[in-house]
Symmetry: C2
Subunit: 199 residues, 2 copies
């Protein structure tokens, strides 16, 4: 019913997460009719990103070089390595300005339902990274979801077996959080993981 190149575009837009046939159609017409410059920019930046970006040889995040700028920075504390699931999580950690070590980005998590086991995560690269003779502590900052927890558990066993000091970011009441509005599971954990008060 549509010209081939239009159907091809609508079909290709469906590869975007959360975009079904209806939105793909709406997006295609919007781009062609109202934002041809934006469409041109998007097409070019997609093809450019695909050729320009690759995993950093050290931290596994996307970079245009062999090793990313952060991994090369002499200002970072190379003895502390923080493991996160995604580049977005790494950016969230950076925004806290509470961590000055280096990162390793898993680019995923252990998720048997999605066919993502330890093998698919390519953990050899992490183990090799940790064995650089400089890293002294690995901080596991995967999500506190079931999958993130399973990933953290798996990694901690793996790393502890190699004699590496492993820690996990704390879980509890959010800063500014009122007990009344915190779910029971979080509250129970906060109670179990209570800390002694000094002085």
């Amino acid at each position: 019913m549509n010209p081939g190149s239009l159907d091809a575009l609508i079909d290709a837009l469906k590869c975007l997460p959360g975009v079904g046939p209806k939105s793909a159609q709406r997006m295609a017409y919007h781009l062609l009719q109202r934002d041809r410059k934006g469409a041109q920019k998007l097409g070019e930046s997609l093809l450019n990103a695909l050729t320009a970006l690759r995993p950093c040889a050290r931290c596994n995040t996307f970079t245009e070089a062999e090793v990313c700028e952060r991994c090369l920075s002499p200002k970072r504390d190379a003895t502390s390595l923080c493991v996160v699931e995604t580049p977005v999580d790494m950016n969230m950690m950076e925004q806290t300005q509470a961590f000055n070590g280096l990162y390793y980005v898993l680019m995923g998590r252990i998720s048997p339902l999605d066919g993502q086991g330890p093998t698919q995560l390519g953990l050899d690269k992490l183990l090799k990274r940790v064995d650089d003779g400089v890293v002294q502590e690995v901080i596991l900052a995967t999500n506190y979801t079931n999958e993130g927890e399973a990933t953290a558990h798996y990694l901690s066993e793996l790393l502890k077996a190699r004699g590496i000091k492993v820690s996990r970011i704390a879980r509890g009441i959010p800063v500014g959080g009122e007990l009344e509005y915190v779910d029971a599971g979080t509250l129970a954990q906060a109670l179990r993981e209570r800390r002694g008060i000094e002085g």
Copy 2:
């Protein structure tokens, strides 16, 4: 914080309707990490569609030729011209299999709030199309929204002044619709526009 080509991609994805900074970021990582083939296909089909598609010289919809296949088809009744807002609306009409005439696609509607007046709609092309000496009736099938109604009203005045027979698709209770679940405005219109029963 991110490499330039990654930031450029995230930024470009924001040109898609309904995609904000958070989804743009999620989409970029998804494409780069999980669907590079899809990303390649999307980039290529965007650039290809931009060069391949243009407005049909007769009906104004997207086509790869000077005049689209439907406009050239000898099987269609060229005396009847149906005016719709978008190519999607045209496809909806086609799916009814209740119309065998030709179309004119406005690629928009009169919408003063969006700065879309009659001038922006390029109605000269429609008037020229209607003046081919073959068209006998123009059926206005714009939406029954305020904007679609305003567009139909404007067009009907314009076309009637040129001595062309103009009609509007009917409004009323949807087929299978129960009065209990139809909004009061629709019901009121269905009452006002009631038809005499033959026989």
